[in-house]
Symmetry: C2
Subunit: 330 residues, 2 copies
């Protein structure tokens, strides 16, 4: 397959290259595209150095598959050029996720929806959606779910390589107590702080990130009765997101069956013992393909409710790995 | 008043000294007590240096009021000695909070319960309880509340001065990529990580910290119908806790009245505008007496529900300030 990656020097783009190599994806040629600023840099793939080219309209010919990971505006501008030249696009941005002709895929959950592709574009869901649904889907097989209260702890890698750099710099400034740090990527200081707003505030006063979890989940699960109320929060973690979930089922489900369903779901690991401090933290999931779930308990405050905690590597399963898994299904 | 502080060199003890001075509390004598390790050190109060004495059974005579802030074991061992020598104890530990003869006080909420003091001990609630209830109490005046889903983002100062040191050291190690950091205060690495367990896991699989919010809130509010399901999480923030709250009222309450009630509640500030990024973060509350609430919105996933976000300085309103406010009521 002739593969292109748009946004190759970003955190997710670089990880896609790594995962294509790790998983021995059949690549006959690999082309890397980036902004003017990153053009001319070299990245390694299978011990070869590949030069990043500046992305231009005429660049996207003669590809079978192009990964887009350079933000919504670039996807909107260039994805159709890529598909009209014959490529399939796997888009990591939010540009086409809610387009009814574009499948929104988590391979473990709805790989069969890939067939419904109408525009030669497949969308990769938001990272918090992917990681949350990896824990929720196995439970939906036990009972319909009425409502999920989700509170996220999102790492700075969600804002890309720039987000990671800003956290490190901000911390270095804070420890030196030098001149005041000027945040650019995040709206407020991220060192020793948490920021309870990701994306813009929408008309219902939820943030865009919060509404993505609700809207994307309903599309992926093909379920218009499930409801997500989210509070999405940026935390000073380098990579891996965590989500605290309070889930209300329609029916009574035995804890035993819940644990069993989680354990056998592909791509999900269970770390859940009240002894030995067995529960997952973001560091446990970092560089791991699996999402990890723990702190599973009956919620005594509501009928048919449970609470749990799930973590996943935002750059891998939350983005790059999921995109490559989609490509494998193609 | 002849005042003693047990645990004077801890994060909360040191803050009590500062607040007694700031608020011009009437102090005729101030004695400071600590462990063997901190005995001999000096702390400042009104420009005088006061020597920390090692705490012994015979130390606690001739006081009107003693603040205890050295953990549950010390309180259990020494508080009764202090009261039997005639002092009133304001205890910051969890030792006596659920004792029916010990009032559990947040002055803005239930100062009248101070009268019910049966053992000359008054308990200061858990920090997350104080900060959560500062946002919840004004709403309870509008409608009974059925259920609260709380997810906390708790700073390392909740584990005292040692917790603050461990975060800084852990970060310095991580940035240098030197030898592996060995965590002592926290169960797992806290730098660039979050830890979804505070205190031990109890028989219902909630943590002690999570059950404190439920149990202490019911006692303070004198309300056995309100339910709290919590997930309490340690985050790499130096001080100030944040709590994301999803609140379900019994009755329909207009958003306008909610905002009005929050705005006029003493000790609470509202930072809540979808324009201009007006919402509170832990850094905004640090060194502030007020708790701050924001991200207030109708929860579209449940009848009569709202979501909001509250932050408060864990060392001040979550501990030292609340204790001194109790003393002022005495």
């Amino acid at each position: 397959m002739r593969i292109g990656i748009v946004g190759a020097s970003g955190a997710v783009g670089a990880e896609i290259i790594k995962i294509l190599e790790e998983r021995k994806f059949k690549v006959s040629s690999l082309s890397l595209f980036g902004s003017k600023r990153s053009a001319g840099k070299y990245l390694s793939f299978k011990k070869r150095k590949i030069r990043i080219q500046e992305l231009k309209k005429e660049s996207l010919k003669n590809f079978d598959l192009i990964f887009f990971s350079a933000g919504s505006d670039i996807s909107k501008k260039f994805a159709h050029i890529a598909t009209s030249s014959g490529a399939v696009v796997i888009d990591n941005s939010s540009a086409f996720r809610m387009d009814p002709e574009v499948p929104l895929i988590i391979p473990e959950i709805n790989s069969k929806d890939i067939e419904k592709m109408g525009k030669n574009i497949i969308a990769n869901p938001n990272c918090t959606t992917v990681i949350s649904l990896m824990a929720i889907k196995p439970l939906l097989n036990l009972s319909p779910i009425k409502r999920v209260v989700a509170t996220s702890f999102q790492s700075v890698s969600g804002a890309g390589a720039r987000g990671i750099r800003e956290l490190i710099e901000n911390i270095e400034y804070s420890l030196k107590k030098g001149k005041k740090f000027k945040n650019i990527v995040f709206e407020k200081e991220i060192a020793f702080n948490v920021i309870p707003k990701i994306g813009n505030i929408t008309s219902n006063l939820y943030s865009e990130e919060e509404m993505k979890l609700h809207n994307e989940s309903r599309k992926i699960l093909v379920d218009n009765k499930i409801n997500f109320t989210a509070t999405t929060v940026r935390v000073p973690v380098l990579r891996s997101h965590s989500i605290s979930l309070n889930i209300e089922f329609n029916n009574n489900v035995a804890m035993e069956n819940i644990i069993k369903a989680l354990k056998k779901f592909p791509g999900l690991k269970v770390m859940n013992s009240s002894k030995n401090n067995t529960y997952p933290t973001p560091i446990d999931a970092t560089n791991s393909d699996d999402c990890i779930v723990g702190r599973i308990r009956d919620d005594f405050t509501v009928k048919n409710g449970i609470a749990l905690w799930v973590v996943g590597d935002q750059i891998r399963k939350g983005a790059a790995l999921n995109a490559v898994q989609i490509a494998e299904f193609l």
